[in-house]
Every structure is written in structure tokens, then in C-alpha cells.
Amino acid sequence: MSIRARLLIILAGLILIPLWYIPFWSISMTAPQYPEGIGMYISINDIQGHNRHDLQSINTLNHYIGMKEIHKEEIPELRIIPWIVKAMIAFALIVGLTGNQKLLISWVVLFIVLSLAGIADYWWWGYDYGHNLDPRAPIKVPGMSYQPPLIGTKQLLNIRASSFPYWGSAFLALSFGFATASAWLNKSAARPQN
């Protein structure tokens, strides 16, 4: 691996560090009673309201339709994912230091697999929240479930919910971009010798 390729994969690892500080996803909701909107940011290790008390408001609203309350302490992913990201950073540093091409390819493949798994998990989390409703909920609309959209906007009763990537996702994309660039450099460096 060239110095440049090694630097790129190290960069791909290090650029994941902002994920501890910058949310990668945002869910926003507006309703007639919420003209300014409420919502939450999702980071690899945290869920926060757009404003200080939004999570409490979301939980209060959700209890009418029997959704479980969202408490970050009760979401195991917020404890697990930081370790996975740490592992990916460490792995990237190892790839960069050893210059092992095979490891580099594994890193990229692992990144893709983990991203897909993350999206699947997020979908499942949303499905569970939206479908697994308390049967004693005061508001029951036959056939209605409240799964937020994976990505995009959806009208759920009086609430218009939007789910979109947030700035943290840009670092994920950059990381993936640097890693594939590193792999591509190796490939084109290898070609003339063939």
C-alpha cells in the first residue's frame, strides 16, 4: 500500500470520531399544536431532543397511542454501537500501519455490512415502537400503526413525521469515501505491474 493509501484509510478511521459529538440522524415532527416542531437527534451513543424537553413531550404524546417511552438508558444499541465504531477506528489504524491490502478490503466490506445491519436495526426499532402498542392505550385507530419513516416524511394522525440523515452521516460517508479511495489507489497502483 502506498503512503497515500495508508493515510487515507487512517483518515477513514479517524473521521469517525466526530460521531460521538454530532448526531447522524434526525426525526422531526410538526402538528397543529407544535407549529415550531419538536424532534430528536440520534447519535451513536445518545438520543436528544431538538430542544431541551422535546423527548419528554414526545413521550407524553406517544403515551396516548400506547407507544413505549423513549429512554436512552433502555436502548442497548447506544451502548453497543460506540464499541463497534471504536473497533472500526482501531481496525483502520491497524490497516494503515500494516499496509495490508486484504485487511483493507475486509474493512470496506465490514463497513458495508455493519451499515446495512445498522439500517435494519433502526428499521426494526421503529417497527417495534410503531407496532408494539399498549392494548390499554386511550387512542386506538383500527389498522393504524405509528412506525416513523426510515427516510422521508409520513403523516401519522395529526403529526407529520420526517426522518432524515443529520450532519454526523456526512462523516460516515466521508469515512467510506476515504476507505474506497484507499482501495482504489491500491488497485490502480497494482495494475501496471500486472
Binding site: 424537553h53 419528554q56 407524553t60 396516548y64 386511550p138 387512542i139
Partner: protein, 657 residues
Amino acid sequence: MTKLLTLKNIVVVTAVAVGAALLLTGCPSGQGNLLDRGDAAQKTYVAPGEYDEFYAFFSGGYSGQLSVWGLPSGRMFKNIPVFSQDPETGYGYYEESKPLLETSYGFIPWDDSHHPHLSQTEGVADGRWIFINANNTPRIARIDLEVFETVEVLELPNTGGNHASSFVTTNTEYIVGATRFSIPYETDLDVPIDSYSENFNGAFSLIKIDENTGEMSLDFQIIVPPYNYDLARPGKGPSADWIFFTTYNTEEAHTLLEINASAYDKDYVAALNWRKAAEYVRDGRATMIDAEYYHNYYDKSQGMAVSQIKDQVLLLDPKDAPGILYFMPTPKSPHGVDVDPTGEYLVAGGKLATVIPVHSFSRMIDAIENERFIDEVDGIPVLDYDATIVGEVENPGLGPLHTEFDGNGYAYTSVYISSEIVKWSLETFEVVDRIDAYYSIGHLMIPGGDTVNPYGKYMVGLTKTAKDRYLPTGPKQNHPAQLYDISGDRMQLLLDFPTIGEPHYAQAISRDKIMPNARRIYELSDNNNPYAIKRVADARVEREGDVVRVYMANIRSHFRPDNIEGIKLGDTVYFHLTNLEQEWDVVHGFAIKGMNTAEVLLAPGQTKTLKWTPTRTGIYPFYCTAFCSALHQEMQGYVRVSAADSDVELTWRTGDL
């Protein structure tokens, strides 16, 4: 086709009719007609969802409250209880607020609030606090403009009607109070009324304001002759160290003042150098005298209001403090004394005078330096009228009262008897315009019109009787207000709307000074009420002998606990209610059958306590009085009250069927 023709016909006929009307009435010019009215609607139209340009605060008069309005729309936003109990919010009924209404005369659940005044920085209203006086049992209150609630009330001793109040100096160093009715000093002095001149005195009160917290303290009082002190205004710019007061009844009458206090041609405007007076007090020239009064205050994080009982006050006698106080003869029983934006002109509203006298501050200083004194009263020099007067506005109408300024060289004076506002030039002292008021105007107010920087755009007239102006509402009707456009050469009436209570004076301020600081919730984490609960899980009921304390959570859409048994006759029950919501404007209420005080409303994050002494056994439903949510009607519960000797155990629950 026929339809179109018909429509067209209608348009033509209407146009002809309007044309004919114009011909008959003459072309509308200047004031009052078709074109003007259309224009007025446009000028006051604030589209749904848009914001008014100004916050206005109208005193409530005998309602003891302060109402909040938008200008130019004339929409009322809120009525803030200040000196009066308010069954709507529970103010003055719930335990936390009750100390605010304590006085040396006991718990006083009402008053007559006259003159709101916004705190100032460098002579301009800053929107931090608004102060208002109680005229009956003499007090001053402070309203915090982050939360729009009364947070402090200070009683004034040696004062018989705190009317010349609550005006702030240009950097809110002091608020002034003064007695309208002179009374004997000291507590409970029992003397014959006709020993008035001998035993009665006036008092000026200088109330110091903490520049960070706004907290008031009575720094000192000044003993003055037994006149009636009517209104006051601190100076500004060159006159910022001075406060001007009007006097009437310099005749010292104590009966039938209507006649006896109207005898003299001139009374006085008193000029007090407050900075010099404060220095004398610091130098030990004042004496400490006995005086009982209450200082009640509340902190912003919604703990409990507390009452502090004071028993002494520093009193400064002008005889011991030369150079602090002068009298300027002024015709005749003057009501208002108002200082123009430059601080040079002192305009008195001689309510029985035929002119509006204007004193000059710089001429007053010259007269003092050159000792142009014509008399002396109790050590207070009386200045020569000709030495201080700089103009007399002729033909001002009958009964001029109060004056505000537009910052463009004009003054506007309310005139009670002839029911009009006159606009006059500060250069020529001549009336340049006049407009009717509906009817019998008291104060008028221009946003910033009492500061160094008026917004000369609108003017509000506060009138005393509505008569035929609105749909009739019985023999006693609400007091009106009128909004005028004063941006042009001629005043234009824009709006005429009923108010609440009896607004005496008003204040207005640009929304930019208040909107950004207006709070949306009380942070639960800052709630330091000892009876607050911060989590639903802390809801509980505790018995301490005959006292039962219910720590109750309010959150959409239930109370916790909502079934309580084991209360007995003879118990005193305290409902400590906390609204656990942390969302703007999600308000809960509480009321229980047979409650002989009031309901309460709880803002998000707020804790309030209602005391309840059941008098009959039985089942008492309670419920949320605020339409808080879709399941508001379900927000209810029951209390069971048993006989004194019953052995029903104290239990409580929520949700377990």
C-alpha cells in the same frame, strides 16, 4: 350572460351611489371621513399569526391588576394579577402567593393600581421589569417581564395613598413614592383631624433597586409639608438627578377639598435633588424612626413568596439637608408634571388652570443659584414663578392633565373637561392640532413618550367613560382606550376599544426588548419550592397530625394520585400541585368540590399549594380546570372524607382498578 350583466349593473350603481355620497358630503379631507377610516383599518391590521410592534401595559385601576396589550392592534394578551386576588389563576389564594398581599394592615386582597413604569437604562425603557403602585394601601409591586408575573411587593410607611408613584429614575437607581393624602407619621397616631397642619405630614419615598435582581428596598423618606402630592417624574439628561412632584391642597385643607383645596391661584411643583439627598443620608443626616411596613418577595424559580416585616425607616428633613428641595409655584392644583425628552422642559398639567405652564430646568438652576426666592416653607425655598417659567401654552382646553412627547419637538397634553388631546410645539408653545377623546381623557401614552427616546408613531388615550361608543353593556361600562397615529402633522384616530379595570397610566415598549427574553416554561430542575415533586414517582400523601399533605403530579392527562381516602373531618389538607410538563403553554388546573378559595392554574414546571379544610363527610370529585389535552375531561379524581373518629386508613392510588 344575464348574471354577468347583473353583476356589472351592481358595480355601476354602487359607483354612482358612492360618487353621489361624496358630492353630498363634500370631498373627504383631513379628518374623519371615508378615506381616513379605510386607512385606519390598514394601520391597525396585524394579520393572523403576525406580531404587534409594541407591548403595552395598562394599569387596572380598581381591579388592582395590570393588563398587557398589543399595539397597533389593540388586542389584549393577558391580565396580570398584582394587588388583587385572582380566582382565575389562584393568585393570592394559593399559599405560595399569599405573602405578597400581606401588609402592616393584614392581608389586603385588592388595591387600586395606577401608574405602571418600565425599568430604564440610560433613560430608555429596557423591558426587564415593570413597577406599579397601589394607591390605597400604599405599595409598589414589581412584575418580572420574563414570566409576566408579580414577584415583589413593598409597602410604604408614613404614606396615605401612594399616588405619585411608581416612576423610575433614568438608570432605575430609584423608584419614587409619595403620599397623596398627608397623614400623621408614626404608627397609629391618634390625633384630632383638625390638628392637620400641626400633626400631619407628607412623605416622599426613595426606593432603591438592585440593578441585577430588581429587588426593592426603602432607602429613605423625606418629610414634606402636609399637602397632597399628586404625581411625579424623574428628570432626564441634565435633570436626571432630580425628581419633580406636583402638589395640590397647599391650602392644607382636611375637609371639603373640592372647595377648600381650590382656593389658591398657584400650588407647587416640588423639585427634589435625589442624588444629593442620598448623599446626605449616607453622611448621616437622616434619623431612624419607627415605621412598620412589609416587604414581600418571590423568587423567579417559583419557591415561596416570603414576607419580611420592617420596623424602621431613615427619615431626612429638608431643614437638615439644604439644597435638596425647592418649590416652583404652578397654577392651579396641577395634576401631572412631565419632563420632555431633553430633560429641559417641565410641563405641569394645571387641572384648574387656563394655560399649560412650562418650567425650564436650566432656568430653575439659575434661579436657585441666584436665590430668586419669594418665600420659604418649612425650610424649603419657594422660587419666583417668573424666574422658572419659560412658556404658557394658551388655549389648551379645559382641564389639562398629562403630557407626553413624540421626540420630534411636540408635546401632547390630555385635557379632561373638554375631552380632547392638544398637540403643541415645544419651540413656540403654541397649540398646533387638537383631536377629540371619547370621553373625558385621563392619561395619554406614547410608546417611550416619557423617556429620552420616544417612538413618535402611536399614542394611546385612556378615557374615563364610554357612554355611547360601543354596544351598551348596562349602567356601568368598561373604560375605553383610543389609539391615534401621530406620525403625521395631524393626529388621526385609528382605534377605539374597551379595556379592563380602569386604566390610569400605561407604558409601551418595542417587542424586541421583551420577546427574546420571554420564558416558555419554568424549568423543573430549577423549581426550589419545598413541596415540589420532580418525578411522577414522587407523588404521595403524608399525614402530620391533623395536617394531610398531598404531593400531586399533574401531567397529561391525569393526576397522581387520583384516589385518596382516609381524610377526616378536622384535617387541614394541603394540595401541593406540580405541573410536570416542560412544554410551552401546556397548563393544568385544579379544583375540588366545595373549595372555598379558588381554583389554581399551573404553568409548566410550576408548583402551587391550595389549602382545603373539608367541612362535610363524603366523596369530593376534583378535576383539571384547564383544557390541557384531548383527554382533559378524564383528568379527574376523588377524595373521600370520613368522620373525625373513623378508622379509614390513609391510602392513595392511581390507575390500579
